[in-house]
Assembly symmetry: C2
DNA sequence: CAGCAAGTGTTGACGTTGTCAACACCGTGC
DNA sequence: GCACGGTGTTGACAACGTCAACACTTGCTG
């Protein structure tokens, strides 16, 4: 055994962590992914990062603030994936379908994270400006794509916010029902996604003659 | 002050409650409605019913079981309201729209209750047979209506489970986004509901010549 | 009618959790 | 070289879900 009981030389971890906020956020996301939102405890993520249970309070006001930050990152990631899908395609009809698949895919691949974003653990009359910005950004990705399609005469030339919200509602609905395990009634999940996006498209497509 | 400290004559409440399960369920729903799911504590609802904190365990296995029962009642109420809307109309296109309005209306009028049904507080790999039955019943109301409309040539003659799930996804999406306060970007909520249901209808309508 | 068993409700206690208050350590600027 | 704000720690507390042990009540069996 090492004789030095006190004053250990070269402690492997200095008193100040360096970027504890980042580390806590990462660890929180890992834990949520593994055990769900309900399984997240402040004490455990502190321990996992190698820090005491209340160190977190120097970086987040409370548990809700931590979850809000997690949600904010989720919206940022979601927007990136939506934009990627849209840009990878030809900014056309097919690319729009790909965006829908990407949205639902994000939710299904990260169910617990998605739940933090929409499950009511956050906000509830509290407005976090940073969260609003990122959520708005993800929504805007959808609006931009629809605007392009309207311009090209692919989609109806209607109130774009209304149309975007309609589209969002559908993919959000499919995503949350899938996450909640409510889709066992239908056959293959991929078939449902394809069908639903096709019917969505029919509903908002421009049917005028060119 | 009454001299009788012990052995009070005629206790206003007998030892056995009579129908404690029913009372607990009602009180739980009232509390959830008032303070949300997160605000529900077993101790408080016990106290509110005038019973000790653990009396509840004679009627529900644990907190989750109580919430599952609340969710089950929610699905039952939802089905009733859907069927009412469908039957009140002429079993036609307009009645179907009314069903959509009723669905979203239920969620918006009972946001916390709706969240218990879909927010992942329940099931999560656990299957409650009674819950499944009621959830299935609500879904079936939708299937029945769509089947009638397909028969009448109003809606496309496609896989009915697929179509019903698509419809369900849309109304569920609108409902949850509304509950989560994510629809402030759009204008009047009623306009969105009308628009969304109209576009939904276009997407699944039968366009063949009669 | 005696008594026993199952059902129902109570009290006490335990471990866990989020959070606050008070204190300790660290780095930087005067 | 020293004060100070930022950062991390320990101790404590109330609230919560849940278990175990006990008490009362009702209804059945002999």
């Amino acid at each position: 055994m090492s004789p030095a009981k006190r004053a250990p030389r070269k402690p492997p971890r200095p008193y100040h962590h360096g970027n504890l906020r980042r580390a806590l956020l990462d660890e929180a996301l890992v834990t949520i992914r593994a055990e769900g939102v309900e399984g997240l405890t402040l004490r455990e993520i502190g321990a996992r990062v190698g820090v005491s249970r209340t160190a977190l309070y120097r970086h987040f006001a409370d548990k809700r603030a931590l979850l809000t930050a997690v949600a904010t990152e989720g919206f940022r990631t979601l927007r990136e994936q939506l934009v990627s899908a849209w840009d990878a395609g030809g900014h056309d009809d097919a690319a729009f379908q790909a965006m829908g698949v990407a949205y639902i895919g994000f939710a299904v691949a990260n169910p617990s994270h998605y739940r933090v974003m929409f499950g009511g653990f956050v906000h509830a009359e509290v407005h976090d400006p940073e969260l609003e910005v990122e959520a708005e950004g993800a929504f805007q990705a959808l609006v931009d794509a629809l605007a392009a399609l309207q311009r090209d005469g692919v989609m109806r030339a209607e109130d774009i916010a209304l149309m975007a919200t309609h589209v969002w509602s559908l993919v959000h609905g499919v995503a949350t029902l899938a996450i909640d395990g409510q889709l066992h009634r239908t056959g293959a999940f991929d078939d449902l996604v394809r069908y639903s996006l096709a019917r969505l498209r029919t509903g908002i497509a421009d049917t005028r003659k060119a």
